[in-house]
């Protein structure tokens, strides 16, 4: 995992704004991340930090009014995704990038059978003949661990359980053998036991199919289980990134530290649970300077005045906190400065 692999997805300075009559919500305010071949990368953060919007933006699924891509570059296997038109995007979606959504209850069309919904991408993207489609669908359902797949193909979504529906979603995303799977909190709406199964499944599929996974979640436990690298997001910007072991063992950014601190564990038994004081800022009314500074125990004056850039720590482990890197106002980090 440490040898430099080919980059499958590269995002630079992505900005997604939502404009309404009197305010601009800067949901994604200049994020950079990348996913390499056969890697599992996690994008982690609280609700409202912009991680889902980032993922939708990659596939051009952000509703155009009121949302808009206000800047940045997205490169997928070397090709630019942001300035493609709709027809070109249709060849990428489902075929080379698959997406799994959060709510299995509502993400499947209730009036078509499972078989029909799985067959669609196969028919459209791969133009397979019908008998091969059926075979492939059965194979896919098998891969994702659904039993009696032949019967399931003729069932409607409401006849399946939540876990099974999510497996079907995964099967649909995998159908055409994509190079990248984006999973947006696929297990949040499911039971914990089912969650564990789905995670194992994704892991296994990644090995067998050789694809990359961009996993979006707010659950740090999940991150520790499946990720190779992690990006921590807050209020629309990336605040820390690195290999999972490094970030978890040695979090540098105060936000990451606070997140890990608030996880309950056996060590903390009997003590009051820690929670980060204050609330996440409204995306249209973000504080000046570092977005986290109002809630940060280590903030200094400069944090309010200058927007911090990324500061390097260990090998490939960077965090957006000059204070943590021991800098002062005169010596602020500016690498990866989110351009305004």
């Amino acid at each position: 995992m440490t040898e430099s692999l080919e980059t499958v997805l590269s995002v630079e300075g992505l900005k997604v704004y939502f404009r309404s009559e009197d305010e601009v919500a800067r949901a994604v305010d200049g994020v950079d991340f990348e996913v390499r071949r056969r890697e599992t990368v996690c994008l982690v953060g609280e609700s409202g930090c912009g991680k889902t919007v980032s993922a939708l933006a990659l596939l051009g699924l952000v509703p155009r009014p009121p949302g808009e891509i206000a800047g940045g570059r997205v490169r997928f296997c070397g090709e630019d995704l942001l300035d493609r038109n709709e027809a070109a995007m249709e060849t990428v979606r489902g075929r080379r990038i698959g997406m799994v959504f959060q709510e299995p209850q509502t993400s499947l069309n209730p009036v078509f059978t499972i078989g029909e919904q799985i067959a669609e991408p196969l028919r459209i993207h791969l133009s397979l003949p019908e008998p091969e489609i059926r075979e492939r669908s059965l194979q896919l359902l098998n891969d994702v661990g659904i039993d009696s797949p032949g019967q399931r193909l003729a069932d409607y979504p409401h006849q399946l359980s939540g876990g099974q529906r999510q497996r079907v979603m995964i099967a649909m995303a995998l159908a055409c053998g994509p190079e990248l799977i984006i999973a947006d909190e696929p297990t949040t709406a499911l039971d914990v036991t089912v969650q564990a199964q789905i995670l194992r499944l994704i892991n296994r599929l990644q090995q067998s199919h050789g694809m990359s996974v961009l996993y979006i979640t707010h659950d740090l436990g999940v991150v520790s289980q499946i990720a190779d690298r992690v990006y921590v997001m807050y209020a629309g910007v990336i605040v820390e990134t690195g290999a999972v072991e490094q970030v978890f063992r040695n979090p540098r950014h105060p936000y990451t530290q606070a997140l890990l601190e608030s996880l309950p564990s056996r060590k903390k038994r009997g003590r009051r649970l820690y929670s980060i004081p204050g609330t996440v800022p409204h995306p249209a009314y973000k504080p000046a300077g570092c977005p986290f500074h109002p809630r940060c125990p280590r903030a200094i004056g400069a944090c309010r005045e200058q927007v911090p850039g990324m500061c390097g720590f260990d090998d490939h482990h960077v965090a957006r906190c000059p204070v943590a890197a021991g800098r002062n106002a005169a010596d602020w980090c500016t690498y990866g400065y989110p351009s305004n």
Binding site: L59, L61, P65, E86, A87, M89, E90, T91, V92, R93, G94, R95, G98, M99, F101, E103, T106, S107, L108, N109, P110, V111, F112, E120, P121, I124, H125, Y156, H158, M169, M172
Partner: protein, 319 residues
């Protein structure tokens, strides 16, 4: 499934019974007498009035009158009080007049509303949507006869489209082709008029259903799968949006007996609506009650058909 049908039918029959009682009660509670038995009517002498009263069973208690009426109705013997014609025959005649208006009007309405509504929803907020919306609102708000007169003035002065009755005098002697053509011309304005209100309402409803469906998660999934734009909208979204309309299909049925009184008055179209209106004026109880009864039956059949269609079309509902 069978149990559902059985229960439904029983419920509908009970409702029908209540409808018959209520309509009977309304007519008899209201003040005023049928013209033949009105003691103030100078045309009839008191003895004739008395004879009419007996013939119409008006001297018997209400529930006996009820019995007489429905016995006659169900054996197709009801006679109109105004002109002593068999009621069912009269209704049938007028119905045949109203029918073409109804069919053409409904066809126009349904074939225009859906494309307009769907297009408005898919390109929400665009120029098409905004103008269609505005026109719909105006059409809903305009008083029917006002619009009719505007149309008449405009069309008659420009295009000489006929506006009175169902056919021109003396047409019966000409060739078959000319007769049909003539009929069609006469039908044009009334059915278009009847359709405009319907188009306005239905297209708005189609649009709102479509919009609601478009915001669902499964439409987003369909797009994420890379399906072409047409498939996302016309296959995934539309199929769900159309569900409630399939059931509405059954409810068209009651419209058969409707026939807008206003339109028929304006164009002197001898239809069912006008007949009902005249019957009300003349207190022709048998006619009024019969039409009411038939209307109720049609409504009930219509809702029944809707329920069945709903079960068939939505896979989530299985009884």
């Amino acid at each position: 499934m069978l149990a559902f049908i059985g229960r439904s039918v029983v419920q509908k029959i009970v409702t029908l019974f209540f409808v018959s009682v209520v309509s009977f009660a309304i007519i008899h509670i209201a003040p005023g007498e049928p013209s033949q038995v009105d003691p103030l009517n100078p045309k009839f002498t008191p003895e004739m009035v008395e004879r009419f009263r007996q013939a119409f069973h008006l001297d018997r208690p209400l529930y006996i009158q009820y019995g007489f009426f429905y016995r006659d109705l169900l054996s197709a013997q009801t006679l109109s009080w105004k002109d002593n014609q068999p009621v069912l025959h009269k209704i049938w005649e007028r119905f045949l007049n109203s029918l073409p208006l109804f069919i053409v009007g409904t066809l126009i309405t349904w074939t225009i509303s859906f494309p307009v509504g769907i297009r408005s929803a898919i390109f929400r907020g665009g120029a098409y949507d905004r103008s269609a919306t505005f026109i719909s609102y105006v059409l809903i708000s305009i008083p029917g006869f006002f619009f009719a007169y505007m149309l008449i003035i405009f069309v008659v002065s420009q295009f000489h489209v006929p506006v009175i009755g169902m056919q021109t005098f003396g047409m019966t002697d000409t060739a078959w082709f000319f007769q049909v053509n003539d009929r069609l011309w006469h039908m044009l304005l009334p059915s278009v008029l009847g359709a405009t209100g319907g188009i306005a309402v239905l297209s708005r409803y189609v649009r709102s259903q479509m919009l609601e469906v478009e915001s669902q998660d499964y439409v987003r999934t369909a797009r994420a799968k890379g399906l072409p734009w047409e498939m996302v909208h016309y296959k995934h979204a539309l199929r769900n949006a159309l569900l409630p309309f399939v059931t509405m299909f059954g409810l068209i049925l009651p419209g058969l007996i409707g026939g807008s009184v206003i339109i028929e008055s304006i164009f002197s179209w001898p239809g069912l609506g006008r007949m009902a209106y005249e019957a009300i004026l003349a207190r022709d109880y048998p006619v009024i009650l019969t039409i009411n009864f038939i209307a109720a039956v049609l409504v009930l059949i219509g809702t029944f058909v809707s329920d069945i269609l709903y079960v068939i079309v939505d896979p989530r509902i299985r009884l």
